[in-house]
Structure formats: structure tokens, C-alpha cells
């Protein structure tokens, strides 16, 4: 019975996600569903991406349980941004995105980031209308994460390993993260970055630009 309800919720969500996707495609905007556990650096990655974005016109939807800190951080870069507060829900869903579409200048954007709630589990189950999912993992979270939280690694087109400036002060084995993540998802693209120092950001932004152009 519980499973039946959950399946219906997922089916209804996927229908609305497909409608969102049609609207995004019509406006010619490439949409990235950005996911990670709490504090892996999603907003910091967006700040670095906005600072380095070159020719790309980027907008952002911020998803948080509470607060508008992240939207305020993004606004400083002059990007159009909408904050969603889920009021307790542990992930964004397609309906929440559908509700804010009218608040975004979609026709003027090349890329729209939808920054999900910090949660390494639930966001991976709910499409929001994205062209691709991208996930972050802070290296401070340890090398056992891919095998313990497999779905997000399987669903993502790219994995951004953030906070590599902390590597000298931890025992984390980046080789094991790479190996386990690619065993779950052989096509996974992996970037190593530090949003604190800026290392690796150019490579990520260049790849993002190529992916947006392809679509």
C-alpha cells in the first residue's frame, strides 16, 4: 500500500517534470539539477561558475528547507534567482519548479541551475525537468560514499569532487571514490575542484558550456 502511494507520487511527478522540460526546451535553456549532501559546496560552485561564466547567461533556482541565504549569495553576481523554501520537504519536486517558472526570464538564459536541498538520497529520485543531473561530493565526506549512496552517483552525468584543498589534511582516498563511482556509472564525468581556491573551476565551466551548446 505504501509503495503504491509512492509510485503514484513518482508518476505524477514525472508527468509534471516532462511538462517543465518542454517549457525549458521551448525557451532554449539548458537545465542542470544540482545535488549533494549538506555543505558539499553547491552554492559555492554556483558562485565560482557565475564569476567565470564567460559568455553563458545563467539563472538559478535555490531550494532549501528554510532561509534565503543562498539566493542572497547568488544575487550578488547579478544572476536571476528564485528561492524555494520546501518547509520541511527533503528534496525539490517538479511541482515546486512548475510554480516558479513564471518568475524566471527563461528566454534570456542559456543555463538554469536548480540547486536542490542538501541530501545525498531523496533528490536523486525526483526529476524536476532537468536536461542533466550533476552532483557534488566534498572530499571531507570520505571515500565510502559512492557504495553507500549509489543512486545519486548512478543518476548523475557529472560528479564534482569539491574541497580538494583539504586533501593533505584527511585520509581520504580519491582513487577509491573515482573507481567506485565509475563502477556504478561508467559514463560519469569527474571533476576535482576547490571552490575555496578556484582550482579546477575552468575545466568544469568549459565542459558545462559544451554540454549546454550540444543540447
Amino acid at each position: 500500500m505504501k509503495v503504491k502511494v509512492a509510485t503514484k507520487i513518482l508518476e505524477a511527478n514525472d508527468r509534471i517534470a516532462a511538462e517543465n522540460r518542454k517549457i525549458f526546451d521551448g525557451a532554449g535553456v539548458f537545465v542542470v539539477n544540482l545535488m549533494s549532501g549538506p555543505g558539499a559546496g553547491k552554492t559555492s560552485l554556483l558562485e565560482r561558475t557565475l564569476a567565470a561564466k564567460g559568455g553563458l547567461r545563467v539563472g538559478v533556482v535555490e531550494g532549501d528547507i528554510a532561509g534565503s541565504d543562498d539566493a542572497e549569495r547568488i544575487e550578488k553576481y547579478g544572476a536571476p534567482v528564485v528561492q524555494i523554501n520546501t518547509g520541511g520537504a527533503c528534496h525539490l519536486d517538479a511541482n515546486m519548479i512548475s510554480d516558479v517558472l513564471g518568475d524566471l526570464p527563461l528566454d534570456e538564459l542559456d543555463v538554469l541551475f536548480i540547486e536542490n536541498v542538501g541530501n545525498l538520497v531523496c533528490p536523486a529520485e525526483f526529476k524536476v525537468g532537468e536536461d542533466m543531473k550533476v552532483m557534488l561530493l566534498s572530499v571531507a565526506e570520505g571515500h565510502d560514499k559512492p557504495l553507500k549512496y549509489p543512486l545519486m552517483f548512478q543518476e548523475s552525468a557529472a560528479l564534482i569532487l569539491n574541497k580538494i584543498d583539504l586533501l593533505p589534511y584527511t585520509d581520504v582516498d580519491v582513487g577509491k571514490i573515482r573507481k567506485d563511482a565509475q563502477s556504478l556509472n561508467p559514463g560519469l564525468r569527474i571533476f576535482e575542484v576547490s571552490c575555496r581556491t578556484g582550482a579546477g573551476i575552468d575545466e568544469w565551466v568549459a565542459w558545462l558550456g559544451r554540454e549546454a551548446e550540444k543540447s
Copy 2:
């Protein structure tokens, strides 16, 4: 309708949690529901606690979506341990705990840790029969977490700030974490520890022993 279903699930969960609690009380075991985001160091804290436990007889239930790495780590310390794989679910619930009660020597334990799935959101909503909730936050997750994920901070008796050995290499403001966490929960007890170096562990273990004795 969605809310109605969710309420029913929570009510049913709380009923089973109360039954678990009765069984724990009857066996004289003090139960801690241990929660955090992914990679904050829950299992490392248990390893340090087991190594330092003094007179306490400690058992562990490990909750993970997949894998048994954590149970294997705990087993090395000679503690009774049961691994639960949730198979996708983002938190433990009372029913999962009820299912494994027969696999634990409750009468021989002073403290039972129930290590929840790594998730800063959902585990805080589901009682499992615990005497108290304890949460960890890795300082590498940043100082904005209390206000963005308030429920877990409100529900916990203690907050363990882990990975303080990384503080010199981050921009995190521990004072802000303390202030915001205690504004959400004035009675919250806060410990600063490093499971890597062992700093602060003795104070936590001494407090745990006193709490277990009180109950």
C-alpha cells in the same frame, strides 16, 4: 491527501517506537539515535566511543541504504552489531528497529547506538524508540547548517562538532554554529571533537555515561 497519508505513517511509526522503547526500558538499555549528514563521522565517533568506553557495555545498530562496511568497522571492537540495509529509504523507522530487536543481547547492554542513514533531514522526523537523539556536524559542512536544517538541531539533546582538526584550513565560524544551534534549541549540549586525532572524545564519553546512568 498527501499530508493525510504522511500523518498516518508518522502515527503508526510512533506507536511502534513506543513499543520498542518499552522493550529497551525493560532491558535497562539506554538508546541513542545517532544522526548526521553523509560523512560527518558517525561511525568514526562510535569507533572512538568503543575504544574509550570504560565500564559501558555498548551495542550498535548500523543503518545504511546499502553495504555493511560500517558494521564490519564496529565488529572489530568486539561490540554486538546488526546492520540494516534500507534498500533506498533515506532514514530508519521504528519498524526496521523492531525487526532486529531479537538479534541483539539487550540484557547485556548499557547503551545501544542506532546509527541512522546519513541525512540531515528525514531521520529527525522518525522516532525509533530512543531515549535521546544525538547529532553530528562536520565543521567542513559550513556554519550555515543550523538555520538551513533546523529540525535535527531542535530534536537533538547533543550536537557533536566533528573534524575540528580541519578548522585551520577552512573559513568556518564555529561561534555562529553554536549561536544558531542554541537559538533553535537552548538546552542543546555541544561537544567539539576530532575523531581523527581523538580530541574531545573523553568529555563526550563521560557525558554519555552520566546520561545513561540517569535514565
